[in-house]
Subunit: 243 residues, 2 copies
């Protein structure tokens, strides 16, 4: 028996709350990227917005508890509730991806892999990309590895500016975005451009809250947007790759 | 043993997707109304964004299938996933509230009850309130009853302008909000003010997407905002009333 178009769509499971503003942003972008004339044309998403998950940066730096158990609980909760695949709109938490994937039997679409594939597809001759990502994400080497596999060298901010970036991310998490935050984020992207980067990768879901492609003079790869688009395509079975 | 502040907060279950834009808006307002310095200060929300629930207006008009089973499934799914109370950022779907509450054992905070209580608290001497709500909500008498219990008379748009309102709501659901939509919504609120209404109740979660309090010359009661604030207070155990 042929299933209806609706029932064939995959139910999306979102491991969220890392942070919550980035989860709202991701949710909104999924809607914006879905062609819909009525409510019923939109996707079924299950969102576990659990901001109580321990700080990922502290865990990776060895100064705080691991978030792995909380992330696994979230993944299992979503699978049990009926999610047919998982996404996690937080780059740094992907350092704990293996714990998650080994605990569930549904596919997990990685934001890091999707972003790096997209970078390669858009700019096949790219040799180096400037990365705006938090300390934990850099220490875990998530982008260094995934870009490296595509022969793209990851370039990062000098130490004092990376410190500035970290402060900015925590400021966005606590107080949101204002013109000062936008200008500071633009200046950090500009620093990478001046270092010779041919593209900027927003490898942190707080970055696109404060920076948009038109503010950057080189291709700007927004990991939240890339994951949102891929989520829609995978849910609608327009692209069945599991990674 | 004393529990930590975090673990004492109630996990919020959101019956969402009715429509999805209103769910994003509610989610964002919950964040905005939560005092937070870090991710971890935010609430744990489980959101079932299921836009596949049958159209509530058609069901109430007797021209389409009932959404009751789908709403009950959503409620049960959220309870099983760990939600400690339920909210539903859609006024009209509250016509099916009884089916939901009889299927779960956790409290359900009604947007209609909260909004009407808020109206009475803010304007104790109010005699009539103008209601912007969709046909199904009006036909089910949700606000007429809840306002009536507080000796407030519900006033609605004349038939031709109510038709305009319905078209506007479906336009917001399919294409979002633009300046034309904002102006049309303002004009409908203005109609109610000209009819002598001393307050406007946004009894539809699509209304505040297109209209803000500063555009209305009388008190504007935004049901999404009222439910978001109450959700935060109930989750944080600052207000333990179950309705």
């Amino acid at each position: 028996m042929k299933k209806s178009v609706h029932s064939r769509e995959r139910v999306v499971g979102v491991i969220g709350g890392l942070g919550p503003e980035a989860t709202v942003d991701f949710f909104e972008r999924v809607l914006r990227n879905t062609e819909a004339e009525s409510d019923q044309d939109h996707l079924h998403l299950l969102i576990d917005n659990n901001p109580k998950v321990p700080n990922r940066n502290h865990a990776i730096a060895g100064t705080g508890p691991s978030p792995a158990d909380a992330l696994v609980s979230s993944a299992v909760r979503l699978e049990n509730a009926g999610a047919e695949f998982l996404v996690m709109p937080c780059n740094t938490a992907h350092a704990f991806q293996e714990s998650i994937t080994s605990a569930v039997s549904i596919p997990f679409i990685s934001i890091v892999e999707e972003t790096c594939r997209h970078v390669k597809e858009c700019c096949p001759r790219l040799r180096s990309a400037g990365l705006l990502a938090v300390d934990g994400c850099l220490e875990a080497g998530l982008y260094r590895k995934a870009l490296g596999e595509r022969n793209i060298r990851q370039r990062v901010l000098p130490v004092h500016r990376q410190r500035e970036f970290m402060e900015l991310v925590y400021q966005i998490k606590s107080a949101g975005v204002d013109p000062g935050v936008r200008e500071a984020m633009r200046s950090l992207a500009d620093q990478l451009v001046q270092q010779g980067c041919e593209a900027i990768v927003a490898g942190c879901t707080e970055v696109p809250l404060a920076l948009s492609p038109d503010q950057v003079p080189v291709p700007f790869m927004d990991s939240t947007e890339i994951l949102a688009k891929r989520t829609v395509r995978y849910a609608k079975r327009q692209d069945d790759r599991e990674q």
